[in-house]
């Protein structure tokens, strides 16, 4: 099933190339079931079915960005608890000629980082989670109103090995190995002895969402991750010990790559200043997804999305109302 679904997704992605008058609309109607439940990051949120997706999301995007096309750098698929998923991450590229989601057009080449998950039933997509890194675009457009990321912020490259488009069938023993390492690593996050360390290459790259920043080396990642965890008391993900509140929608591996997504995932109580926001003591959950690449027995690259605007809204900061 996975192989077939990946091929369907490949054809779908191909329809997001230039010139794109209306061919993407046909592709969307073909790819999604009419009633598909499509979830997109804030401020779009819930979309009901393929027509709504075209009208609310894609048409305004096509209008805002001239020559818009996709260039994904990871595509993988797999089965999670009886459900078939295909996921991808990469970029949209185009010239921003009209305002979009309250962001002013700069009339230049811009990039929009995208991560997508699609669940298939009978060769149709019935459930989707779509992440855009809108803060990354805000920073590129110079309308981001908060402090800059502490780490690197900017364009995020795909896998250094250029082999993230896994359209072929993977060796299941390799996939299992990747999944096991990722699950064990996740179960050891936010432990006092930093038991997640050995699962990572010493010089790993953590490509974080804009606002969080990107980091090279496990020590520099720790310098971000540990304070981040401490801002949210009881920091929990699905794999955390004693977790009873978080349930991910998918966690799969395909060869040397794995992915995990939750809508909602990371949970905790906002007890320290984060993203310039004083503690609110509110209980928050984050829309999060990750892709990992493994070499040998360690993880070397990790691409991450967090719906930062949604997180900020939960702690009483409406990012879209504050754009510069």
């Amino acid at each position: 099933m996975t192989l077939e679904n990946k091929q369907l997704y490949k054809s779908y992605l191909n329809e997001f190339s230039y010139p794109n008058e209306n061919n993407y609309e046909k592709a969307v109607r073909n790819f999604f079931s009419e009633e598909a439940s499509i979830n997109v990051v804030h401020p779009i949120n819930k979309i009901e079915g393929s027509e709504d997706y075209i009208n609310t999301v894609l048409r305004p995007m096509m209008k805002a960005f001239e020559g818009l096309y996709r260039r994904d750098y990871i595509v993988i698929g797999g089965n999670y608890e009886g459900n078939d998923w295909v996921t991808s991450t990469g970029y949209f590229a185009g010239k921003m000629i009209n305002d979009w989601l309250g962001m002013k057009a700069n009339n230049r080449l811009v990039y929009i980082r995208v991560g997508e998950y699609h669940r298939f039933v009978d060769k149709k997509c019935v459930e989707s989670y779509i992440f855009y890194d809108l803060p990354e675009l805000m920073m590129a457009l110079d309308v981001w109103p908060l402090s800059p990321s502490p780490g690197y912020s900017g364009h995020i490259p795909g896998p250094a090995t250029l082999d993230g488009l896994v359209y072929q069938e993977s060796d299941s023993s390799e996939s299992n190995k990747t999944l096991k390492i990722v699950e064990e690593m996740l179960s050891k996050l936010n432990t006092p002895d930093k038991a997640w360390y050995p699962y990572w290459h010493e010089n790993m790259l953590w490509y974080g969402p804009a606002g969080f920043g990107s980091y090279i080396g496990v020590k520099n990642f720790e310098n971000f991750q540990v304070p981040f965890e401490s801002c949210f008391q009881g920091w929990t993900v699905e794999m955390s010990k004693n977790n009873t509140i978080i349930k991910d929608f998918a966690r799969i591996a395909d060869g040397h790559y794995a992915t995990n997504g939750g809508w909602l995932s990371v949970n905790g109580k906002h007890v320290k200043r984060f993203l310039d926001q004083e503690p609110t003591n509110k209980d928050v959950s984050m829309r999060v997804c990750d892709w990992w690449r493994r070499e040998g027995n360690v993880l070397v690259e990790n691409w991450v999305f967090v719906d930062v605007p949604d997180l900020l809204l939960q702690i009483d900061y409406d990012l879209f109302a504050k754009l510069k």
């Binding site: 230039y18 010139p19 001239e66 020559g67 096309y69 260039r71 750098y73 970029y91 590229a93 185009g94 010239k95 009339n107 230049r108 080449l109 811009v110 990039y111 590129a140 502490p150 780490g151 690197y152 900017g154 364009h155 995020i156 490259p157 795909g158 250094a160 250029l162 993230g164 488009l165 290459h201 010493e202 010089n203 790259l205 920043g213 990107s214 980091y215 090279i216 080396g217 520099n220």
Partner: protein, 322 residues
Amino acid sequence: MNTFDRSLYLRYSDALRHPCDHSHAVFSFFSENADINVVHPFNKLEGVEGYLSNFVRPLQEAFEGLYRRDDIFMSGQFDGQKWISCTGYYVGRFAQDWIGLKATGTLSYLRYGEFHRIEDRKVVESYIFIDIPEFMIAFNQWPLSIGPGLSRGYTGLIHGPASRDGVIVNDCDPAEGQRSYQIVTDMLACLATKNEAWRPYWHENMMWYGPGAFGSFVGVDEFASFQVPFESQFEGWSGGSMNNGLTRHFTRFGERDYACSGGWPSLTGINVKPFLGQGPTKERIFMRVCDWWRRENDLLVENWVFVDVPHLLLQLGYDPLP
């Protein structure tokens, strides 16, 4: 180009994929007396020792966890000589000041583009471009805010090929490489023409990944908004493929759907209008330039470009480096 020559680079590239002392790989790759040229402020380096002591070791000292990642690697022949070329990024944490630039302590990217001529299974002649202005712009250490065109376009990290297939590790049909070479050679002959005769060679939605100081552009119209003003700043604007009697490409070849070229120098002209806020000096300048192109069928869709901009600015009497 036999497979041995390909493996010479692939071994070098593999060794530098993760942090290590680069010198061992450098010794195996270059011949001891190789003629190695690196963009300003490095310029001409004497042999492998010169390259190590002036370029590689200081880079390793400045960047913690330094490694390389290629986006394009290709090989071919030019005038009976064997060449390989590659472009990609150095990655590391900018931990110590480097060539006068202030360390940021953060993850950073330094774009490279390299050409190496091979004789007797070793590199004997090299031209190595790194995009120092792109690096400086990323950390707000570049002193100029304008580009040569109507705008500076996108500035930031530059993608590899959208098709993710730029590292060519197997032999391929020479006819395809020849076709790539010919399209590029024909297109170059049409640059700086009154009727913009270069347009038909490009995909309408092409990407031009310029040097950091110039910016990147999407679509032929946007590219023209850079290219035409740029050409007008240098009278007699002419490149290394044009038999202009002044400059000549050190190599130009195609492989599969990719082509590349480089000249040290390549572009030349008389500076007749202000360029990056400097001049006009009314004097002839020479630019070190290199390019990679990817085509789809008969149209060029992506183009990665380096210009040694600091070297060019120096000729106009302005030193942008600290």
